[in-house]
Symmetry: C3
Subunit: 656 residues, 3 copies
Amino acid sequence: MKIGVDYYPEQWNRELWNADAVLMAQTGVKLVRMGEFAWSRLEPRDGEFHFEWLDEAIKTFSRYAMGIVLCTPTSCPPMWLYETYPDIIQVGADGNRLQTGIRGHRCLNAPMFLYYAKRITEQLAKRYANNPSIAAWQIDNEIEAYPCTCEVCREQFRDWLIDKHDTIENVNAAFGNIVWSGEYSDVSQIKPPNAYPKAWQNPALCLEFSRFSSDTACRFISDMSQIIKRENPKAKITTNICITKDLPDIYRLCDGLDFTSYDNYPPVRIPENEEEFYSHSFNLDMMRGSNQKNFWVMEQLSGATGSWMPMGPTPRPGQIKGYALQAMAHGADTVIHFRWRTANKGAEMHWHGLIDHSNIPGRRFAEFAELCKIAPKFDVIETTELVSEVAILYSPDNDRAFRIQPQTEGFDYWEQLKCFHAAFSKYGVNVDIISPDADLTKYKAVIAPSMYVYSKNSAENIYRYVIKGGTVVLTARSGVKDPNNNCIMEPLPTVYREMIGAEISEYDPIGKDEQTIVDFAGNEYKCRQWCDILELGTARAYAEYKDCFYGGKPAVTMNRYCSGVAYYVGTICHMDFYKKFAGNIMKQTGIPRLNDLPQGVEVTTRTNGLDDYIFFFNNSERETDINLPKSMYSIIEDKEKNMLRLAPFGMEIVRK
Amino acid sequence: MKIGVDYYPEQWNRELWNADAVLMAQTGVKLVRMGEFAWSRLEPRDGEFHFEWLDEAIKTFSRYAMGIVLCTPTSCPPMWLYETYPDIIQVGADGNRLQTGIRGHRCLNAPMFLYYAKRITEQLAKRYANNPSIAAWQIDNEIEAYPCTCEVCREQFRDWLIDKHDTIENVNAAFGNIVWSGEYSDVSQIKPPNAYPKAWQNPALCLEFSRFSSDTACRFISDMSQIIKRENPKAKITTNICITKDLPDIYRLCDGLDFTSYDNYPPVRIPENEEEFYSHSFNLDMMRGSNQKNFWVMEQLSGATGSWMPMGPTPRPGQIKGYALQAMAHGADTVIHFRWRTANKGAEMHWHGLIDHSNIPGRRFAEFAELCKIAPKFDVIETTELVSEVAILYSPDNDRAFRIQPQTEGFDYWEQLKCFHAAFSKYGVNVDIISPDADLTKYKAVIAPSMYVYSKNSAENIYRYVIKGGTVVLTARSGVKDPNNNCIMEPLPTVYREMIGAEISEYDPIGKDEQTIVDFAGNEYKCRQWCDILELGTARAYAEYKDCFYGGKPAVTMNRYCSGVAYYVGTICHMDFYKKFAGNIMKQTGIPRLNDLPQGVEVTTRTNGLDDYIFFFNNSERETDINLPKSMYSIIEDKEKNMLRLAPFGMEIVRK
Amino acid sequence: MKIGVDYYPEQWNRELWNADAVLMAQTGVKLVRMGEFAWSRLEPRDGEFHFEWLDEAIKTFSRYAMGIVLCTPTSCPPMWLYETYPDIIQVGADGNRLQTGIRGHRCLNAPMFLYYAKRITEQLAKRYANNPSIAAWQIDNEIEAYPCTCEVCREQFRDWLIDKHDTIENVNAAFGNIVWSGEYSDVSQIKPPNAYPKAWQNPALCLEFSRFSSDTACRFISDMSQIIKRENPKAKITTNICITKDLPDIYRLCDGLDFTSYDNYPPVRIPENEEEFYSHSFNLDMMRGSNQKNFWVMEQLSGATGSWMPMGPTPRPGQIKGYALQAMAHGADTVIHFRWRTANKGAEMHWHGLIDHSNIPGRRFAEFAELCKIAPKFDVIETTELVSEVAILYSPDNDRAFRIQPQTEGFDYWEQLKCFHAAFSKYGVNVDIISPDADLTKYKAVIAPSMYVYSKNSAENIYRYVIKGGTVVLTARSGVKDPNNNCIMEPLPTVYREMIGAEISEYDPIGKDEQTIVDFAGNEYKCRQWCDILELGTARAYAEYKDCFYGGKPAVTMNRYCSGVAYYVGTICHMDFYKKFAGNIMKQTGIPRLNDLPQGVEVTTRTNGLDDYIFFFNNSERETDINLPKSMYSIIEDKEKNMLRLAPFGMEIVRK
């Protein structure tokens, strides 16, 4: 595993560069990421390029055998560019143009921005794409599918719609514009739905605009990537993903890239209540699933976070090292810490790096140094990958659609995914988070929560999987919408009815209220948010409602379909249900389980086909012991062990 | 009683029309409402009218002996109209123009909107006003007194003010503009008070603007109504009222209309705590009181509600039928359910109709069918009306004024009205909600809560009533403001002092704090929000404060005035007080009471002068029994009964 | 002590003036403040001045030997001025111009506003500056450092920055603009940071803009003051301070003024929980400290408050009189009540004066009359002042900086100051709140909480004080920022390290979490928000952390430095700690303490060098007794007393 740091040469006096490089080399740093905010120093005036300082910075660090991750600086255009073309800045949902002085605020469709973005990317590519010190490229920074409503975006959105739907009549039909006499008689009447007032918006229009915004972000990354590839087809290119509410479609985003990278900020405060606890490993598995390969962490938690928002607590002992190793346990081969030294200036000066403002390395740096020290032991692991028998399907389209129409008070698409992820993780198995369109044949069980918006590809993919013997779990709010985000005139779950062997006669959006279900073994569980009332066809009831007017009606069903099995969970439960349910699925499908793992202990396995490396991570603040079934070889401690004693956030890796 | 449904022919394929009509006819549907959102199909291009489809729709349903309620479509102008005249859209309080694609967003003062609205209304009137299938007309949809601040509204508001006050000097005096050197030297300086920042606004200006907005809405409805009357003076015309914070003056709104209609969405979740529980019957009584006649329900709860907001729970068994019958118990002669089938497209696709997206009739439809089946039994009831001995005065002007200046934390004008309504309702009597200017002579007791803004008519009306022997209850915050919303320089309750025989020496706006009052019989009650400290003149104390520096001072008084009695309740209490107090008022005035009604059971009586029909409605989730004093004839079950067993939301109607 | 009232002759019929003056004279009122909102009557049209009515008003009241406090009316320009120059109104943070019809909304940098403001001030000065009835002048009203973003303010802010930093390069360096490529290439690119979106702002830019806004307010007051001084150099001039989030730098504001005045609205609701309770005396001490002299109260609580916000409770018996005397106990020589009679019109009609809308004097007026009656007894006190041995440093610059970057959830600069103030106050000593640049030599102990932004003057002042034998208490977040609001590259607390003999190896921003500290005597206290982890140099530990990874590390230290002592409190505690800590400081520095004062009782002392007058104020709702160590002479009751029985909000003053 390679350990790196984020570094901003343009923010520090040159005298510091060499001192920093020396300390990095001593510590064992192997990669230095730089450049993503440096446009104003690379091109201080229109067309006047200054690369000497970057040449020197690259030389300074590569002199000590560190590789450079070079970023394109398009996230922060320089002031002179705004001055000349003020309309390259995004316009917010309320119609106001953002102000300068911040970051990530350029409009990705603005023609003059694109002209200059391409030029600076080209210049960098020409100068550095064949420089052997460059280990990888990062395009832009934390790209978002931001819903810009500027005049250019409006125009392009109109074109995008007509490209897709052919005629204005088709758009009217797709949006159901007749409903409120909102039929467009001219394409110019189409407006992004983010305007005023917030409510009353057409969900079909909203979903299309959200897709358009995502496409915009993905196309920008792809176009910039092509510019570098043109100079060096072997250049390794990525963009760093940051999970926000405006996350672009991660599968499309990562499609043309060489590898996925992720900005990883696990929580410092660990909730006591198991119900509230979702390991950050969900996000890591999702990153691995974005293109089903190992990935990099491009920014890793290094200190207290905070900026315009108040600071949070400083990482607990073990978290700097442990969370980096947890990333490896889920498929990261490289972890780059954000950042070497905390910024003394600018809006993010309270987002702490490894070294504090004082420039005196302290406790966190010492822990980072330990990490660097043991990292070479993991070289054997770099050639391994995670093989999973369980997959959970994450669909960007459903994610978007649920944000547009929250189904009921408390309903949260991500929460449901994380519940299933946590339930299987508690048995110590690898879990993949993948696209509904991904190849499912290698899995023994596939969880497909709330397959809300119909996609022909995805539905056929799931059918093919079950027909050939797979086990699938579908849940409430599946098959509800057609691809235009309109309701389908068929009994729910529409296209999935045949597979689950049951249909929904009615539903009860209970929101914050609670109901109770009883499973076939007599166990009772509280459920919440949504209750589908099912009528059995070929299916059997796995659990039934206890009370209300649907007491005795099935809530969860199980159906043998062709060679496979389809479960349907018509409600949202708590962890007690999901854990038991996951256990039963694993029993049924023959996935081996580790029972009785202590709370917070996460177990994953990486393999190269010959050797298996098992990771035991203690994601809790309590020391805990694990007795191994047989003596195994500890990679970190270089010896055989029967028992693993895990400190808080401690990691052990054994070869099986 | 006639049962109907809301139907949107323009939203469905024509193949469905006939199938729907057949099912409606089988089910017993008697009325179909249509047209309120169909402008873009009636006039797809400027001046190009297409009525053939509407002709056919009307024919399709009237063929099965169903009457048509035809709506004018002015709530949703078509896109081509916005394109030509973008300034026909409202401008919000913050100065931003609303966007298209929603509903109810046209400015009711915009000249070009009015031109087109009149034309389409005229076209519809000419074609259908004498069509015998048209049972009634609905003007526009859920009209609101929306505070539009567009340039036209500003101008018209200025004219409205000068019309009313004659000179700019009078406006300055009425607004007290001298206070902050805000005296207008030119009429152009007058601006609606809805701008920026929200606070600091002059309450006199705010009240006038709110009255202007209400007048705008009322005038629009009246003008459109006249257009139809011109074609057929016997046309039955209404507009459907939806209770929102921008409710126009309901008395003025209904004044020129043939009948009142109401969009009735009672709550699905019934609060357990009696304190939180206000029956939706308050609203129904208010609708009957809007013009003191029986009314229609134009939209009736039919399924789970939700749209841009999350969905709520689905109606409980009994609610579809029970809430429709509850409306009848309070004076509805027609109940039209919203809507036949849930929309599959558009922003309101989660606002459920009787039939789900699937088009498979289910549990709720079955209950609706039952309702239709028994409806013919109520034909005898159609000629009856509610006669009440108790009235509560609702004043739109006070309602507005309290929104402008919330008196204290928690103070809520409607809550106070609803407390009194619930208190009397618990004794099984009819209660009217009427205008302070309505004829009071027929009532034995009149509750006049918080008569805040002085109206000469209302005050004289109340005085006349008491002088001739009536019993009135006044409450805190009466007589505070002159008609311009300024404070009166007299001891409170100013004009009402003489009548109540007491005056207020001081008040304590306690907000969320609590005090205690003790009534003449020694009962203690908590009180809240406001404490008037009274000095007795001719009055006697009904209750006194227990603590604080006004311990021992009267809080509630009773005064014999001329031939009548005037109570004054100087504080806000909880239901325990109001129930006891209502009981005492009824005892004093000789209104017969039903004691010991089970919680949630509502009893009202409709009469035709000969026969009395008593309605027993169980507005709760618990089955309950009522023992009748003697055997009575059940209209629903067609037999004599001594005991009524009411299912949850069950209704029994007996002839006395 | 002089008692006065605020009066608005322009709001009342002239018939009332004389009646009011007679009642004031009978009651014992000595001062009448007027004029601050009367511009539209003083200059109803451009250049047309009407002073006759003001002449008459002044005559009416001075006839009864009352002095006049005359206010300049620049807080509310007349409408005709806005009509001619609409851009004299402020532009809010979101870029929208405020509307007319409110107050305090003029832009203090708008050239045409300044032209007219100077002219009306000049006119008033020429006419009244030498009128012997004028006791004092008030400039404007409740001036705020409002962050106006209008075009003029933008331009002036740019000039202000260049004046201060010389070159655009220096501004770029000071703001760290390189961080996000935000380097200005032209001065026109500089924009106030209050725009859209709210977050992501550069803290260096924010602090400079906040300083600029404060400077704007201070300069305006100073300029207007000069105009009056030009006519009469002996005129006594002030401006009334209102504590809001946009408070200007009070030291700079009061610098050129003859005395400080304050709008004093202590809370009517007294919290039961000691933790929540901060006496309003903190604000009074701060006003005295603004220029280290006695001060006036220009507006004093007289009734229930409320306006656009709901009304709060009416003052409890004793509060009208008691809070006025509390102000005297902290250095007020004059208390003017807001207002004589409650406004019947305008936005503030619910902000109650001494007399209610009814114009019938009531309970509150009677208490005010009592106050007036005893006021002459305090004439001897007018020549006295408070001498303190403890000072707390309040820094406007730190106040601002902490608003810009809230350190952690719950962190509140003012709360910390108030905790220390309350802790010392509980021992019955005078406490000064002063500038970090004030002369400290006269204090035995100086509390310097969170000296966040470095100021050379302040740091040297504190060092000088300790070197010469003073005792100082520094606390967490000291020495963090350089004068540009950037972090200093040195171990914390940077410049104060040497003095405290310790340094901070790490900190933990725990926010709402809690930790525990144990002092040298074994007492445990909960701490919160922030934990500095200290390494001792020459210092000793006063308290250590108990748990977490820094258990056993010092949290509070004590260091002998030269002839003095420097404490450092590296965390935020609750009152239990501060009270004990203050007691220890007082013991160490030899400040005499009154132990066992009942909760809520405040004791201060005023002296003229010969006689000491001790004030005992019961700031609680419970009667309480104080046994004096020896018999003393009660100024209020004119007799010797051994025991003081204090009613709720009661005051006793004894001569020692």
